[in-house]
């Protein structure tokens, strides 16, 4: 068989069918010539009465009918000996021809689209599997015990179960779309995992809404307005425009994928339904605090390693790092985070309009952050750097006073140093500490 010829070999079948047909035709001719024609030619010599006797012979009549059958076989065999509608194998032949064309098309490079769709499907599956494996690997790669403890706390499991949890979480994911849509749900709007649902399920806001129709109206109104924008994914566009994917945010995203694994394992509901479920009602706040806490920790780490925070004493450097890191965190707060944080802070001050005023102020802060980073990043940077420099100067001032106040005070500052000996350790346990401030 030549390359590029893929049909089933039917030639032998046609040839044999044809041979049989020829033999049948021969037989028909023999019967006609040697028997029936001779009978009909010589029947005239007989007496009229004998004619009817001969015509009644069974061999004669059966020969006639058998001849009919033979003719039918002849036609059938004729059809079998060549391609066409009459051939009983026609269905097989047509399908075979179709396949042959497709295969030869692929061999000749004509039908690439078929091939590429198959290949891209395979690619997707490979990508998904890779994502799953890297996810499990990521969990496994966290060796720092405090990191593992934080993760486990958030997920409500024992640190030792983390790896097996990760494997279970990814086994539920069947398509790449599921993976990304979960991440999208987490990251559009705020970029830090705070969604409107989280906002609504914040204890303070929930209570306020139950108590007062007014608060409910104000808040739903305020949330409706940006929600219309949220659907346009404007935040993601803006962050793209501003091109500000900091390393901190990168790690926060990985962190989010950890949490999204938890989301997925929830009985296959759609992400949105799940966000409204009781599971998130309890977990959403922790998620929000944790993501903010992690970013805070990262910002503080980067502030710590920056020379700007250098100080006469370690205590001074710790103080500057915390202040600087906090300012960095605030400078990245989006509208939703702002509203959420504002509501938290306002509620904690214990005044009648704290939640509402805090929410409005937070919304404004987030919007200013968002717009300045899109419109004028230089301006934004200068504002926050100005605040930072002022705060560092204040720390220096306090430090000077403390140093001049004598050795006793310096010693107490050194004890602060031992508390803040490892900034990362301090803040890895920080998510819980921070949340208890406001709780």
């Amino acid at each position: 068989m030549a390359i590029g010829k893929f049909t089933i070999p039917l030639d032998e079948y046609y040839e044999i069918s044809n041979n049989i047909r020829l033999k049948v035709t021969e037989l028909i001719d023999d019967v006609e010539d040697e028997f029936l024609t001779k009978v009909s030619n010589n029947i005239g010599f007989l007496d009229d009465r004998d004619v009817s006797v001969v015509e009644g012979f069974s061999s004669y009549t059966s020969a006639k009918t058998e001849l009919e059958t033979l003719r039918q076989h002849e036609t059938n065999l004729n059809k079998m000996s060549q391609e066409g509608d009459g051939n009983p194998l026609n269905g097989v032949v047509t399908t075979d021809n179709e396949y042959a064309t497709t295969f030869s098309g692929i061999a000749d490079g004509v039908s690439n689209s078929n091939v590429s769709s198959v290949v891209s499907n395979l690619d997707n599956m490979i990508g998904l599997t890779e994502a799953k494996i890297s996810f499990v690997d990521f969990i496994g790669s966290i060796t720092d015990s405090s990191d593992r403890a934080i993760l486990a706390n958030i997920l409500g499991i024992e640190p030792a179960d983390l790896t097996s949890w990760a494997k279970n979480a990814v086994s539920g994911i069947t398509s790449a779309k599921e993976f990304t849509s979960l991440l999208n749900t987490l990251y559009t709007g705020s970029g830090k995992g705070i969604s409107f649902e989280t906002l609504l399920y914040t204890d303070e806001i929930g209570q306020a809404m139950q108590n007062s129709k007014l608060v409910e109206k104000v808040l739903t109104f305020m949330m409706d307005t940006p929600y219309a924008l949220k659907s346009q994914k404007w935040a993601s566009v803006v962050s793209k425009y501003a091109g500000k994917v900091t390393s901190g945010l990168g790690k926060a995203k990985i962190f989010g994928s950890v949490i999204s694994g938890d989301f997925t394992s929830a009985i296959g509901k759609s992400a949105k339904d799940f966000l409204k479920s009781d599971a998130v009602k309890l977990g959403g706040e922790t998620v929000a605090w944790a993501t903010l806490g992690i970013e805070e920790g990262l910002n503080i780490k980067s502030a710590w390693s920056s020379s700007e925070t250098d100080s006469k004493t370690t205590a001074g450097k710790v103080g500057k790092s915390i202040v600087g890191g906090t300012i960095d965190t605030i400078s990245n707060v989006g509208p939703l985070d702002g509203m959420w944080l504002g509501a938290k802070i306002g509620a904690a001050t214990g005044n009648p309009i704290g939640i509402a005023a805090g929410t409005v102020a937070g919304l404004a802060l987030g919007s200013f952050n968002l717009v300045t980073s899109a419109v004028n990043p230089k301006f934004k940077k200068s504002v926050y750097n100005g605040i930072k420099n002022g705060a560092y100067a204040a720390v220096d001032w306090v430090e000077d006073k403390a140093l001049s106040a004598g050795k006793a005070v310096t010693q107490s500052m050194e004890s602060v140093k031992s508390i803040g000996k490892n900034v990362s350790n301090f803040f890895n346990g920080g998510a819980k500490t921070v949340s208890s401030w406001f709780g």
Partner: protein
């Protein structure tokens, strides 16, 4: 009666929340939020208005509160909040009243500063005047409900369909964006779209702040009624002396002595 009971419960739970660390950490953060976030807006507005040449009149520039004044206000408000903290352990209801007035004044400054900030983004003088007019109107309305006895507990929000309001604001934003683009060209498209939200923002802020004040004033009025005759309401709502007044209150100490 129901309203009074709700308010007194709210007052007691809120006042109990105030601890020393609230006064030291959360209080100043809250004050900072309300004083300096609008200032951030004002600085940003100044930068934008210079760039876009929607220059305001000198008079309008002079309307902003000077930074040094804001610094002193911050200290004053912090000290007052500390006093609130001290009161909160001694008389929950009174502390809640002080806290309400404190927050009301603080929010008033923020309200004013926000309006000033957003004016920087409004290119047309006539619209700026219109916004000032609305702002003054809202202040007059707030003072009106303070000094009249009528109960204004039903808010404007309950009379307005918020969905219509949302849509109206989005449409206004759209108009503002289109005008902005027509006037100053199509470069920096996204930035202009986002900026176009700010000229519309005063409408939302005036609306929301008016409502916040309305709710604050109706709460405060109920609190004054309760405060005049605290003992009567304490017994009526069935609170213990310790729960109603607080651990360090005179009344609680006296009640311990009497036992």
């Amino acid at each position: 009666m129901d309203e009074l009971q709700r308010v007194s419960e709210e007052a007691i739970t809120s006042s109990k929340k105030i601890r020393l660390w609230t006064a030291i950490i959360i209080g100043p953060i809250y004050i900072c939020m309300l004083l300096f976030i609008p200032l951030y807006g004002i600085k940003f507005g100044e930068a934008v208005s210079q760039q876009e040449r929607t220059l305001l009149t000198n008079f309008e520039y002079s309307l902003t509160i000077p930074n040094s004044v804001l610094g002193y206000l911050f200290l004053i408000f912090w000290i007052v909040y500390f006093i609130n903290y001290l009161v909160s352990n001694r008389n929950h209801i009174k502390a809640y009243i002080y806290n309400g007035i404190w927050s009301g004044l603080l929010t008033l400054i923020a309200y004013y500063q926000f309006i000033v900030a957003f004016q920087f983004f409004v290119p047309l003088l006539i619209i700026r005047i219109f916004y000032w007019f609305l702002f003054v109107l809202s202040l007059i309305y707030i003072f009106y409900i303070i000094f009249t006895d009528t109960n204004f507990s039903t808010s404007i929000f309950q009379k307005v369909d918020t969905k219509i309001l949302t849509n109206a604001l989005l449409i206004l934003w759209g108009i503002s964006a289109i005008l902005n683009l027509l006037i100053s060209g199509f470069e920096n498209l996204l930035a202009k779209l986002l900026l176009a939200a700010f000229p519309v923002a005063p409408l939302i802020f005036i609306f929301i702040f008016t409502n916040i004040y309305q709710s604050l004033i109706s709460t405060l009025k109920s609190l004054f009624i309760i405060n005049k005759n605290q003992e009567k309401y304490r017994q009526e709502f069935g609170y213990s002396v310790k729960d109603w007044y607080g651990k360090k209150s005179k009344m609680y100490k006296e009640s311990l002595k009497n036992k």
